[in-house]
């Protein structure tokens, strides 16, 4: 099941990664090699096997509905690339 360059480009958009043509070619080759390697998973019979998403058999972990201090706004915004002191700023999103 080989991945085409178009498929890889579509995945790149889903992942929000810009790939140059050259990067796309290299990435397509590498992904195909890895995917081909990973295909050996299908050698394992998993007919009645439940997926294991998490190694811990724990459940019902909650916290109380109790206030904890929020960050002062200037601290919350301090690491942001672009702000106006009140909001995070992003390129225009016209909806």
């Amino acid at each position: 099941m080989a991945l085409s360059a178009e498929q890889v480009q579509a995945v790149a958009l889903l992942a929000r990664l810009r790939l140059t043509d050259e990067e796309l070619a290299v990435m397509t080759g590498q992904l195909n090699k890895i995917v081909e390697y990973v295909e050996q998973l299908h050698e394992v019979d998993t007919k009645d096997v439940e997926p294991l998403a998490h190694p811990l058999p724990i459940s019902n972990v909650f916290r109380e509905d109790r206030l904890r201090p929020s960050l002062p706004r200037d601290v919350a915004l301090r690491n942001a690339p672009d702000t106006d002191g009140e909001f995070f700023l992003v390129p225009p999103v016209l909806d």
Binding site: V44, V49, L52, L71
Partner: protein, 500 residues
């Protein structure tokens, strides 16, 4: 006592000397800072050395000791921390351009615990970007070198922390292990590294790579120091839903007690093909030590362990593709300088901010989760994950601990595996299964190659049996001298300049 005779000792030796008043915490940290100053230009273990902060903390410890105040269990001991743990007010980069200027307004829980234990946090260590790699060559900032041979990789992704201990830049270090990222560099750098059971140590403030696999763990020269550091960082954290509410045994107090009637399982599949002969020999010698100690040694099989790497390279990238979605140039971190619109800003920011390996894994994980491929890859990998876990469950019905090699080879040359991602992925062939199963594992020195490169022995134990793991490891360590060897940096530097 001169600085050079101080560095290279264990944390427990330092604590003893500090308690007896034979030296001050300031003198101690000064000795390490000098050593870093002298050699880290060659090793490049640190991304950030906090000399001022470390000296200040050491001075505070000295003052408090002078006043007779109670002190934490690591009072005055320098600890290096992998740059994957958030440190309040201090740059935390994950060795990535995308977080180059990120200053967290919070401490990771483990960092908080180290501070409360009065450790001296000496600096942040280099790593593979976002902990993705097995050589520390994927750092956006620098390449860390193996202190035993500066032309070789320290392993990874916690290569900076392993190298920092091996180079005697700190007696203790913290790393993170998602598929072997503590144990493999520990093996390649000739130190002890432990990956706790999933849920034993809080992940709060650990920059996530693959959330269901990541654990934080200690590096040290020997098993006793490892026990000391594990005790400090382990325990339940209300900020981490996946940290388990179980009490933490006093690992150090019991580590010297040998395990009566210990049953040791040797993994058949791990000593047959694909393993370097010198590594295999060293591991067999280690098995002989256990036999000599009266342990009941038998062969066991982990028939699905060979599917560990393929399962891991679906599960980990899938989680990573989601965990790393937040680096988008909006709320913190790098943002591309030029872009056309919102989507283009995302795409350029991430293209410019992430390195090649990170992009590769994001792509792989995105693909494995995407419509039409989820069942064939992601779901299949989760089922194989359970099968791998069941292999361990069966094995631990027969034996108390499992032993084998940590890494199929000793330290490899820098650049050697960079061009071929798959060859790099196979570095973790013996370590990933423990992460998939969520069990505990340790790597400790068990010999050296003819070229003088360290070899690591891996021991695995069932979930939450760190005490058993440490005691079993210490039984072996007490019979051997490997853990007392230190890399000779002066000679290593000379060897490189001679070759160059």
């Amino acid at each position: 006592m001169s600085g050079e005779s101080l560095v290279g000792r264990t944390a427990l030796e330092h604590l003893d000397a500090l308690a007896k008043g034979e030296l001050s915490a300031r003198e101690l940290v000064q000795a390490y800072l000098e050593r870093i100053e002298r050699f880290d230009g060659h090793v490049q273990a640190f991304l950030l050395v906090d000399a001022d902060g470390a000296v200040k903390k050491a001075a505070e410890v000295d003052e408090r000791r002078a006043r007779g105040e109670p002190l934490g269990p690591l009072a005055g001991v320098p600890v290096a921390v992998k740059d994957v743990l958030c440190t309040e007010g201090q740059r935390t980069t994950c060795a990535s351009r995308i977080l180059e200027n990120f200053i967290p307004p919070y401490d990771a829980t483990v960092v908080r615990k180290l501070k409360e234990a009065d450790a001296v946090l000496i600096g942040k260590t280099n790593m593979d970007e976002f902990a993705m790699g097995s050589s520390t060559e994927n750092s956006a900032f620098q390449v860390t070198r193996n202190p035993w041979d500066l032309t070789r990789a320290p392993g990874g992704s916690s290569g900076g922390s392993a190298a920092a201990v091996a180079a005697c830049f700190a007696p203790l270090a913290i790393g993170s292990d998602t598929g072997g990222s503590i144990r493999q560099p520990a093996a390649l750098c000739g130190v002890v590294g432990l990956k706790p059971t999933y849920g034993r140590v809080s992940r709060y403030g650990l920059v996530a790579f693959a959330s269901s696999l990541d654990q934080i763990g200690p590096f040290a020269f020997d098993v006793r120091d490892t026990a000391l550091l594990l005790k400090v960082i382990a325990g339940h954290d209300p900020l981490d839903s996946t940290s388990v509410a179980r009490s933490v045994p006093d690992y150090l107090a019991c580590v010297e007690e040998p395990l009566e009637g210990l049953k040791v399982g040797v993994v058949r599949e791990w000593l047959s093909e694909g393993v370097d002969p010198e590594v295999a020999t060293a591991v067999r010698d280690a098995v002989a030590v256990y036999e000599k100690l009266g342990a009941d040694v038998c062969d066991i099989s982990l028939p699905h362990s060979k599917y560990g790497i393929p399962a891991y390279y679906i599960v980990a990238p899938a989680e990573a593709s989601s965990n790393l979605a937040r680096y988008d140039g909006v709320h913190y971190g790098y943002r591309a300088a030029r872009y056309e619109d919102m989507i283009d800003m995302y795409c350029r920011t991430r293209a410019e901010g992430f390195g090649a390996e990170v992009k590769r894994r994001i792509m792989l994980g995105t693909y494995a989760l995407s419509a039409g491929y989820y069942d064939a890859y992601y779901l299949k990998a989760l089922k194989v994950r359970r099968v791998i876990r069941e292999d361990f469950d069966r094995a631990f019905e027969q034996v108390d601990v499992i032993i084998g090699p940590t890494s199929p080879t000793p330290a490899f040359r820098l650049g050697e595996r960079l061009a071929d991602p798959l060859s790099m992925y196979l570095s973790d062939i013996y370590t990933v299964t423990a992460n998939l199963a969520g069990i505990a594992g340790i790597s400790l020195p068990c010999g050296f190659t003819q070229d003088g490169l360290p070899i690591g022995l891996q021991i695995l134990a069932p979930p939450f049996e760190e005490e058993r793991l440490l005691r079993a490891a210490r039984m072996y360590e007490r019979e051997t001298e490997w853990h007392r060897r230190r890399a000779d940096l002066q000679q290593a530097v000379a060897a490189v300049s001679k070759a160059g």
